[in-house]
Amino acid sequence: MDTQFLVSLGLILATFGLYIGIAFYNLAKKTSDFYVAGRNVPAVFNGMAIGADWMSAASFIGMAGTVMLLGYDGLAYIMGWTGGYLLLTFLLAPQLRKSGRYTVPEFIGDRYNSSTARLIAAVATIIISFTYSIGQLSGSGVVIGRLLEVDTAIGTMIGVALIAFYSALGGMKGITWTQVAQYLVLITAYLIPVIFMSLQLTNNPLPWLSYGQIVSELQVLDVQLGISEYVVPFTEATRWQFLALMFTLMAGTAGLPHVIVRFYTVPTMKAARWSGAWALLFIGLLYLSAPAYAAFSRFILMTQVAGSSIADLPAWTTSWVNTGQLSIADANGDGILQWAELVISRDIVVMATPEIANLGVFVVGLMAAGAMAAALSTAGGLMIAISAALSQDIYYRSINPQATERKRLLVGRWSIIIATVAAGIVALDPPGAITQIVAWAFALASGTFFPALILGVWWKRANGPGVIAGMLVGLTVTLIYIFSAQYGGFTLFGIIDTGAGVFGAAAAIITIIVVSLATKAPSKETQEEVMDLRYPEEMVYRDGEVWLKETPEETKVTK
């Protein structure tokens, strides 16, 4: 057992103790607390919690590596995952907040006045969150695998046990405050190494301003080596794939049940707007740093690791080779490691960076703790979404309406445990890189919830049969496209599996419109409810007239 192991483990355990402490302190008692935190979280903190919920293992562990390996083409992830907040905050959040429902399936069921639609939405929630959590578990596998220097699969199994235990414990109320702590841990862990690297390489403590210089140097190096240039667009994928992926990630963001549920935890529409703004600011801090990571790591690997002799490579290479995520082969037998002979998995770039840059045991340990915070916080939110869909929308509303609150909580907790274990089994042999698996979840969300919610909020003529057909068509098209692109090599316009959402969304939107127009218009009450969503919370729309809510005390105060 070396010092590194003890320091990393110590930091992970200390931060875990903190989260669990907070969760225990706020232990959920009522069903409403378990799912939406009693609606009294201030906007700034809700923004942080959204940030922690949002920034998963894909953002923390996977994204910088993806940008490093894909160059400009990897930036689709940066813009897609931030731009989605525009769609969410402008087009959906305030209206969903006003509707006053607890979960996305509940909103869809009530808006479209159809329990079939609610059931389909619940099943879609489970499929999307499940896919997403596979990415989280395989991320925690990378971290734990490195920590214990064991195979990533064994790391994943340990992660499953941790996440199942942790998510079943708290519920949303515990999770909101825990996630504030997790955001702080993960952002500190992410920024410290990149700031140090920036100091080492450019003598400037602000990586965001300094890495442009490194990017220019990379261009020169690429030309010398004769490899595809880092900043040149569309070398790894086509222009259409870039645009399709960016759309998929944006629309998916606006349709992810575990993110949307965050906007129910704020007291007012005003707070919903501010929460979204704060969330993107906190998220942006990490997203603006990821390309800096990518540039610095690539620069160090190209100038300091490649070109050195195979016999005396730095010590960190051995531990990563042991996890099966790094391979070094002296293909031409000259005893020197060439850039082309270094095969690095995109999922380890961030985790290996502090070691590559030789930043010391504490920073490496902090990184591990931060990555675990990212994987755990998102997995926690995902598991709550799965358990809400199963226990509230499927069990309580469709199977056993007489169920007591205790029984529903119990069903919720068990569904968390089962879902985590099942996702863990798939993650043992992950079907793709972390960012890729997560992009599939986004593709599914943009093919189902995005159209159903956007049209549900903005078009009162959309009806039950339309949304049922639309969600089914969107889900099917997206799934078929992902599978045939990933395993069958079938693509349109060079758009691969990760851009599938663009087809799913288009198919679903067309289906909802066509089927809705071909069938009976929704009832007058439903249409009035949709009209009502147009106006701020203080206004109520009824029978073509608008009323303003007032409390008697307030009238006195304002005179």
């Binding site: 400009y72 813009m79 087009l91 900043v231 040149v232 005003k270 997203y287 390309p291 809510k549």
Partner: protein, 93 residues
């Protein structure tokens, strides 16, 4: 106890119209910063900002900063509009 006071539907619709117009403007700006710049990436790579070719700068920093800016502007302006229409949610509860 909530009391209801009828207001002119025109006022309520004016609120809705202002908000929707602004949202459309914000989304158009966001769309240009991301999709349009990506579409013309090669054409926009000719000049650089701070060491980055322009298209790379927009993808890695410019677009994200614009998104954040838009959300805060929206929150601030919308609060002002609320006030103008006599809605002040801060006082509730």
């Amino acid at each position: 106890m909530k009391l209801l006071r009828k207001i002119d539907k025109k006022d309520a619709d004016a609120y809705f119209r202002i908000r929707t117009t602004l949202v459309v403007i914000y989304l158009l700006i966001g769309f240009s910063a991301s999709f349009v710049v990506v579409f013309f990436a090669e054409e926009l790579s000719g000049f650089s900002i701070n060491g980055f070719p322009f298209h790379y700068f927009m993808g890695a920093q410019g677009a994200v900063l614009i998104f954040i800016f838009l959300l805060f502007i929206n929150a601030i302006i919308n609060d002002r509009i609320d006030k103008k229409f006599g809605l002040d949610q801060g006082k509730k509860k």
